[in-house]
Amino acid sequence: MTEKAINILGIESSCDETAAAVVRNGREVLSNVVSTQILVHRKFGGVVPEIASRKHIEHVMPVIHKALTDAGLTLQEVDAIAVTYGPGLVGALLVGLSAAKGLALGSGKPLIGVNHLEGHVFANFLADPELEPPFLALVVSGGHTSLLVVEDYNTFRLLGQTRDDAAGEAFDKIARFMGLPYPGGPEIERLAKNGDPAAVDFPRPLLPGCFDFSFSGLKSAVINYIHTEEQRQSGFRREDAAASFQQAIVDVLVKRSQEAIRATGLKKIVLAGGVSANRHLQEALAEGARAAGAELVHPTPILCTDNAVMIGVRGYYQYLHQDFASLDLNADPSLKLGE
């Protein structure tokens, strides 16, 4: 090896996972530690911000220490500290961010502020070693549904995004309405496996003349349907409702992605965000992309949900770009893509 390896310590605390990881040269995972709070929040039916922040402060240093230990490195041996500064829950973000800044001040290592959504997109560099910009990205999570062009490692162009509910939010709200435990996405997917996706013809909202999404109408239609069938005691199958709802969302995402592939002529599209773990979406989008002339890349299951590896990967490319943050970096709960 001729060039010195660059080791980035990534830290992530934007929602309900406290995570740290060490990534070498943006493509090699030396360690990946995640402390999840899913069970803590389950009885509340969703993430409680104050409880999430309390869990983060409890776990943040042990998680960072384990990430360094697993990587066989000391803090002095990492080249920079990359941390999520948005978007997310502000109180949760501030724990990881404060820890990262304390580490940076104490060690003299540079600080890199990472956009959580860009991190999700960059998780795909680990799934596909050959992946290089430009490519399309479909970000689908509890808070976001966006289509963007990754023009180079540091330039992102937004094509469209949701105007109301994010796709993952619709999953979570329907799941909650059906009395399924948090997090609702995987529960809907599980239920849908035994259902008929063509049983109910839910609306597939496609706003004309743009790449934007809108899922609140679909969400209301599903809730109305279930409500009405329950009142009528029609004996409808919940599995069918879940499968039909999931199919409607997937159809919209696939159709919009195909339009974007054709409009840009790009040959690769990557899937990112928590909902990218949905197998049905992965399969349908792979097929849809192929039909439109592009190849789908999606992260390995472990990197679909929140993690710090993706923050380390994104941080590596910001390191190469000398995109360092000053020590007054604040959390930005509504940080947009490409900012």
Partner: protein, 251 residues
């Protein structure tokens, strides 16, 4: 009161003479940091203009060390104010302090915020009552008294309705000095027993956290003993309180 402040603090076994300590207090709107060589305050930097600690704390620490001519590698101990206070403020201070301690291989001690405030005022023969906002018209209330040259907690930290406090203190024995966020206590004008601490001694100070922390510090033991440490919240989250109200049968 002789040997103020701190040198005559009761010694613990193995206590070292001089500990270069960095003190951090972000429990309130004040962001106060100080570096102390045991009882000597080498530098202290306080900002109280409502800036977010998330932005200001780390640059403030950097400036403090530079102005006080202290290399961060020279530090021997970090002391952080652990609450009660603003939940988010406490976490910013604690996460920063823990991470600095980790990066510099330093021990970390956490001190009670209200005790550190009482420590600002070396006045014997009075009840020192530091108070901080506990939301919804409530206050966190501490009760301390100097006995010889020791600061003693006379009542555990409690939560009280702000509007009742002045009368409670008036009914108590001997003069009382309100400290902390005194402006949140109404009706003190009519209470002859109750006075307000001067502005200069009223609010949390990083130097008091540092000096108290150094006095509490016992060398040796696990360097990472602070792993898993929580702020001193006193209150549970609102969501938990509500959930327990709705589920009296328990978990």
């Amino acid at each position: 009161m002789k040997n103020w402040p701190g040198l005559s603090w009761p010694r613990r076994a193995g206590k070292v003479e001089n500990v270069l300590t960095l003190g951090i207090d972000t429990a309130t709107r004040v962001c106060s940091v100080a570096v102390c060589d045991n009882n000597k305050i080498l530098g202290s930097l306080e900002v109280n203009v409502g800036l977010t600690h998330s932005e200001g704390l780390v640059p403030q620490l950097e400036t403090l060390l530079k102005l006080a001519r202290v290399e961060k590698e020279q530090l021997e101990l970090i002391a952080v104010s652990r609450g009660p206070g603003s939940f988010t403020g406490l976490r910013i201070g604690m996460a920063t302090a823990e991470a600095m301690a980790y990066a510099l291989d330093l021990p970390l001690v956490a001190v009670d915020t209200l005790e550190a405030i009482a420590y600002n005022l070396p006045v014997a023969g009075v009840r020192l009552i530091p108070v901080l906002d506990a939301q919804k018209g409530n206050l966190y209330v501490g009760s301390y008294r100097w006995e010889k040259d020791r600061l003693v907690e006379t009542e555990p930290v409690r939560i009280a309705a702000a509007q009742d406090l002045a009368a409670q203190l008036q009914a108590g024995e001997g003069p009382a000095i309100l400290m902390g966020e005194c402006h949140r206590v109404p009706g003190t004008d009519n209470c002859g027993q109750v006075t307000l601490a001067p502005e200069s001694a009223r609010l949390p100070r990083g130097s008091s956290a540092a000096i108290l922390g150094a006095a509490q510090y016992v060398p040796g033991g696990d360097l990472h003993a602070y792993f898993g440490m929580d702020p001193f919240y006193i209150r549970r989250s609102e969501a938990e309180e509500l959930w327990e109200k709705r589920h009296p049968e328990g978990r």
